[in-house]
């Protein structure tokens, strides 16, 4: 009863707010400003955007990143362009990408390594169906499918080896069926039936995992059911008094943000994968958003979590902002990576949409100075919503994505800027690096904040380098996954990985890991020097998050994925040896499991195991991540 009344009152309020918004159209300053800054989010009309369909393959690539209509390609003139209409870059020509691509990787547009165009359905093993389970499910009225395309789509995340195999048309173990619960009670029914019939469940949110978390374990003999949460995508209520929203966990980032925006709010949680990743996925992997300096990471954002486990539903009894009731049970759920249950509903903090947003960038003569500046910004606790420091290689990478300049005047201006920085200020173009900034808040404060940060930067030899450079820096992180697909068309494979590390070790870790990658590639017979680049992507009081991109040209290698994995393994060893963590926000999955014990101690691992043992003795949630 209580929930009924609260939801009806919420709905009423929603209607009122919606009315306000509709009455005051485009001239509404706040929403326009915020909208403008989202270079990354689809441009399509917010109200008409459709949620994720059950048949994802209709709008998304089955063997690559993102929407089917958006991809990079080299056109007949050899110029790179980005297709589609969804992004800022869409339809634009990127004249310098080809030279950068060929120069960096020693790749050649003549040497193509195209992907298999369509799924070879005959390669998909027939499903191992648990008939009694299916019958009970049908009776419960839950949508399900064992169509091979649906199953293949949910058998992978976006690790290099997963995508590489798909492109070659190789398909391993895939889930035997897919179910689409539409609400919390559907999930309860599914889990109950799974326990009853001993079926293995693998929760599936946005499918953007990069830790082999979605891979079906080879040793699993039971029927594997992929539990796709995409249809649980409603905002159930918004509480303006407490600034919280109660949301179904299947909602994907962009839909959540857009729908909240319509009410004048946002969560501020913007992981780079937010176009596709889901709220439940964020909770299950301890996700981190670009603007965590203002809004916090997912663990700071959640107020209440509801999760269905084989033992029943776990949740707290109130919405108090903090409690001292023994170890926080949320922390059993956060980062559990689908091994304990399915997150179905989350109450999370919301904020009014900021009045004003501004990008910015600072050029530093070298990486050391840049890191010193970020450290100082963190020490003074004045980090903007986002501050990232790209190393020289990544700066050049970002530069290669500059769209064609429309006028001679603009190109003249660019030349002038370059002259000023390299010749007049004496920055070495092979050492300089750039920090990208994003400020958010009310206009006056943003401008004040901006000045403070630029003043600190100046002490470390930093020069303000304009909004444009800043914005392009953020764009890079959204298109990088699309770019990987382009690389894979031309014998270039790569991936990103991340870590967190105390401040005093940042420089040493970056240098050693980059060098280790270069050295390992050489030792393993990679013909051309790899791209090995990093950025400091988040700042904390006691350290920073570092993000690496690593890619190489694999022509001449018989088993490129194996080489790739060996190098990544070595890089991770190097990270751990240099005082870095196993993961900052990607999670462990199956990819990094081997280091879990070393990372959390034997006792720590035992604690996690005993929780699993209690919650899920039958190993219904059998994706075998983490432990």
């Amino acid at each position: 009863m209580a929930s009924n009344s609260s939801s009806s009152s919420a709905q009423q309020r929603l209607r009122i707010i919606a009315g306000h918004l509709q009455k005051r159209p485009e001239d509404e300053h706040a929403s326009v400003a915020a909208q403008e800054c989202k270079a990354e989010t689809p441009r399509s009309n917010p109200s008409s955007a459709a949620p994720v369909p059950k048949r994802r393959q209709e709008i998304m690539k089955w063997n690559g990143w993102g929407y089917s209509d958006s991809r990079f390609l080299f056109n007949k003139k050899g110029q790179a362009e980005f297709t589609g209409k969804r992004y800022r870059l869409s339809g634009l020509i990127l004249p310098s990408l080809k030279d950068w691509f060929e120069g960096t990787f020693g790749a050649n547009l003549q040497h193509k390594s195209p992907a298999t165009p369509t799924v070879n359905l005959s390669a998909v093993a027939p499903p191992n169906l648990n008939e009694p389970f299916i019958e009970d499910l049908k009776a419960a009225g839950v949508a399900a499918s064992h169509d091979p395309e649906d199953r293949v789509f949910r058998a992978h995340g976006h690790c290099l080896h997963e995508i590489f195999a798909l492109r070659e048309g190789r398909i391993g173990r895939v889930p035997d069926m897919v179910v689409w619960p539409s609400c919390h009670s559907d999930v309860e029914k599914i889990v109950e039936l799974a326990c009853k019939h001993n079926v293995c469940l693998i929760p599936y949110g946005g499918g953007t995992s990069v830790s082999s978390a979605l891979e079906c374990p080879h040793e699993e003999t039971r029927s594997i059911v992929s539990l796709d949460t995409s249809q649980m995508n409603r905002i159930l209520w918004i509480d303006e008094k407490n600034l919280t929203a109660h949301v179904e966990a299947g909602i994907i980032g962009q839909d959540l943000e857009r729908q909240l925006n319509e009410h004048g709010y946002c969560t501020g949680h913007e992981p780079d994968s937010m176009e596709f990743s889901s709220l439940g996925g964020w909770v299950a992997t301890r996700a981190s958003g670009m603007k965590k300096n203002i809004y916090g990471n997912i663990e700071d954002l959640v107020v209440h979590i509801k999760m269905v486990t084989p033992r029943g539903v776990i949740e707290k009894s109130c919405l108090g902002p903090r409690m001292s009731t023994g170890p926080d049970i949320h922390h059993f759920i956060l980062g559990s990576e689908g091994t304990l249950g399915v997150v179905t509903e989350v109450t999370m903090k919301i904020r009014p949409i900021p009045e004003y947003q501004k990008y910015g960038s600072v050029v530093f003569p070298n990486f050391q100075q840049g890191v010193a500046c970020l450290r100082e910004v963190a020490r003074q606790r004045c980090a903007p919503a986002s501050i990232r420091l790209m190393d020289n290689e990544q700066f050049q990478f970002g530069h290669a994505l500059k769209p064609q300049v429309s006028s001679i005047f603009m190109s003249f201006l660019d030349g002038l800027k370059k002259f000023y920085i390299t010749k007049f200020k004496g920055f070495d173009p092979h050492h300089l690096c750039v920090a990208t900034l994003l400020f958010e808040g009310d206009r006056g404060k943003v401008l004040q904040h901006e000045k403070q940060v630029y003043d600190i930067a100046a002490k470390f030899g930093g020069l303000a380098a304009g909004e444009d450079n800043g914005q392009r820096g953020y764009m890079l992180t959204f298109v990088i996954a699309y770019l990987r697909d382009l690389g894979m068309d031309y014998y270039v494979i790569g991936e990103s990985f991340e870590t967190s590390v105390p401040w005093d070790r940042v420089l040493d870790l970056c240098r050693n890991v980059k060098e280790r990658i270069v050295r390992e590639c050489k030792e393993r017979g990679v013909q051309f020097p790899p791209l090995s680049t990093c950025r400091v992507t988040q700042t904390y009081d006691a350290g920073a998050c570092v993000y690496f991109y690593f890619a190489f040209n694999y022509r001449g290698l018989s088993d490129p994925v194996h080489v790739y994995e060996q190098v990544e393994h070595a890089a991770r060893e190097e990270i751990l040896a240099n005082g870095g963590s196993l993961s900052h926000h990607h999670g462990v999955g199956k990819l990094r499991k081997e280091w879990m014990k070393e990372s959390v101690s034997g006792v720590g691992l035992g604690m996690l195991k005993s929780v699993k043992e209690y919650v899920d003795p039958q190993n219904i949630f059998g994706n075998r991540n983490l432990l």
Partner: protein
């Protein structure tokens, strides 16, 4: 262990070595002055952070590590931090080098003159130089030369200048500093000075280690130091010290450097300048204090012929690959890196092992001259040998040594007798040759009547000088010799028994020779392999059988070790017969020495067994070890 393959992969015989080139040849043809003043543009480390000598000092004093220790020391001693910091600054002043190119040029000029006078040739492996040139650019480099003579580090710097390599900073003993003028000259050519012992002095250690690490981290210059810690008076490699090795490796362990290259350098002399000086020192004549006037007096060494000299730059050893799988670098994750941390047990073991291996590499690349073989034979035949039989046996020994992997510099196209007479001529001060009979002797006949003690002393000087040449080849014969002695004393042909005996001897001599700890199985197999290949032994599954033709080889090998066994025996006898309860280590050596003298005079011990002295401390140590093992 029997199941392990006999073929040892690091087999010395298979070692490929580079060719040498004489660097003095060029010097004899052109002007030394112009050479000293030539344009010097060394290849540089890619990560070099350029910094001046004065800046280096302030970086060290400001470092977190030193500041942390200063605070610690101040709170422990009650002195103010300013006071302790001042002390640190003084220590650094006393220690730091002040490298100046002009001083280096002066040295280059004078050394060119001196070297041309002293040596017939100075041979360097140029491939080694090229490898070093490569290594210097990639990672900070640590040069680890062997140490047989004062000449060593002068020669190193000279060669690096010659090949346009960055000049090293050299860890030198404080004793040099007392040489007023020369000490400062050395300082200006890159030497920095460390006290001989500063075990408990935290502050000193902190200044010293931070100084070395800072230079390494900045890529300031290659660091050069002697693993053996001091000059080997016996020409036998000394048990390496690990303190400095730990300091240069720590920046890698802690992730401050991607890698560090260690370059072992083997410097060998046909005739060591300090030859008889060392012998006297070993016999208890105190070492002349390093002083400038002493150096001037030593001018007479310039008038003699010291034959040729060989410098072999070994392959750079990467600390990273050395530590792979042995050092868990994440052990440093939980403590801020500037807080000094004692090396863990594992680390210590690793350092010790690495140090031994590096000294082994030095040994293996040490060039041996024909005289070394002759000296070995003459020491085994105290009554002298006929020239013809000496020639014959030297030739035999030469083949044996080569089969065991010795790096022998034997003139290719000369008759054996020619080579031998050449060697005898060079070392005539240790010999007497009459009517085709060669014997070790004191050539400058005593003018006045001498006491028997003095006669023994004179003779011992010659024997020890000669032994220092024999010692140079010991590492070649050591493992087979241990096996030979083990077979003799095991009284059994069972492989296990022989191995046990071998292992016992190996433990006993673990401080006498360079025997990598933990390598005993490998050493045993290597010895078996070498002797089997030579046709001396047959190694069966459970047994080792001597072949008929192997008798002479085994006898020779046993007598190689005999003096050492005798020496140890004398010390044992002394400990049993003579010691009183409160004997200090200081009194111990002279006491053993006079005990040995007594035995010799009484005819119970032969003079050529007088290794006692150098051995005596090692023996004590060996007993401790053996006692622990049993």
């Amino acid at each position: 262990m029997a199941s392990r393959a006999l073929y040892s992969p690091r087999h010395p015989v298979l070692k490929k070595r580079d060719d040498f080139e004489d660097v003095l040849e060029e010097r004899r043809r052109s002007s030394d002055l112009r050479y000293a003043l030539r344009c010097y543009t060394p290849t540089l480390y890619k990560g070099l952070v350029p910094c001046k000598v004065s800046m280096l000092k302030s970086i060290v004093l400001q470092s977190d590590h030193l500041q942390c220790v200063i605070k610690q020391v101040s709170s422990e001693s009650g002195d103010s931090t300013e006071c302790v910091a001042e002390e640190a600054s003084l220590i650094l002043d006393e220690m730091a080098h002040r490298m100046q190119l002009s001083t280096v040029r002066f040295f280059v000029f004078t050394l060119s003159k001196a070297f041309k006078r002293l040596f017939r040739s100075v041979c360097v492996n140029e491939e080694g130089i090229q490898r070093l040139q490569q290594a210097v650019q990639e990672h900070p480099v640590v040069l680890l030369p062997s140490h047989r003579s004062y000449m060593d580090f002068l020669m190193m710097s000279y060669l690096l200048y010659m090949f346009d390599l960055p000049l090293p900073v050299i860890a030198a003993g404080m004793d040099f500093m007392s040489m007023k003028f020369i000490g400062e000259m050395l300082r200006m050519s890159g030497a920095f000075f460390i006290r001989r012992s500063f075990g408990g002095d935290k502050l000193y250690w902190a200044v010293f280690s931070e100084y070395v690490k800072t230079m390494l981290r900045k890529g300031y210059a290659p660091i050069e130091f002697f693993l053996e810690g001091t000059r080997s008076r016996t020409c036998k490699s000394l048990t390496p010290k690990t303190g400095l090795l730990n300091i240069v490796m720590e920046p890698f362990f802690k992730g401050e450097l991607f890698d560090v290259s260690l370059v072992p350098v083997s410097i060998s002399y046909e005739r060591v300048l300090e030859e008889s000086l060392y012998a006297r020192e070993l016999l208890g004549v105190p070492k002349p204090k390093e002083s400038t006037s002493g150096l001037l007096k030593a001018r007479r060494v310039l008038s003699e012929d010291y034959g040729s000299m060989h410098v072999y730059f070994g392959h750079p050893v990467s600390v990273r690959s050395l530590a792979e799988g042995k050092i868990k670098r994440s052990q440093y994750n939980l403590l801020p890196r500037y807080i000094p941390q004692k090396p863990s047990v594992d680390t210590h073991e690793f350092l010790n092992d690495a140090a031994f291996r590096l000294v082994r590499i030095q040994e293996e690349n040490m060039v041996l001259k024909p005289w070394v073989l002759i000296a070995t034979l003459l020491l085994q035949n105290p009554d002298g040998m006929d020239l013809s039989s000496l020639t014959e046996q030297t030739d035999w020994l030469r083949h044996l040594a080569l089969a065991f992997g010795a790096f022998l510099d034997w003139p290719d196209h000369e008759a054996c007798s020619e080579v031998i007479s050449c060697s005898l001529a060079l070392h005539r001060r240790l010999l007497s040759v009459s009517a085709g009979h060669v014997q070790l002797s004191v050539t400058d006949a005593p003018q006045v009547e001498t006491t028997p003690e003095e006669a023994v002393f004179q003779r011992a000087v010659v024997v020890l000088s000669c032994a220092s040449y024999r010692n140079q080849i010991l590492h070649v014969f050591l493992r087979p010799a241990l096996l030979a002695v083990a077979m003799q004393s095991a009284n059994s042909s069972r492989k296990d028994d022989i191995y046990n005996c071998f292992n016992f001897l190996r433990n006993m001599f673990s401080n006498e020779f360079i025997l990598c700890p933990g390598d005993s199985v490998q050493d045993f197999e290597e010895a078996c392999y070498l002797l089997m290949k030579r046709g001396v032994l047959q190694v069966l599954e459970h047994e080792i059988v001597m072949s008929a033709s192997g008798q002479s080889t085994l006898a020779f090998l046993c007598s190689v070790l005999e003096p050492f066994l005798q020496g140890y025996q004398v010390v044992c006898r002394y400990l049993c017969e003579e010691t009183n309860e409160n004997l200090t280590e200081k009194e111990f050596i002279p006491a053993v020495r006079s005990f040995a003298l007594k035995l010799i005079l009484a005819g119970r011990l032969k003079c050529f067994h007088i290794h006692t002295v150098s051995a005596s401390l090692d023996v004590l140590w060996a007993f401790e070890v053996l006692w622990l093992f049993n």
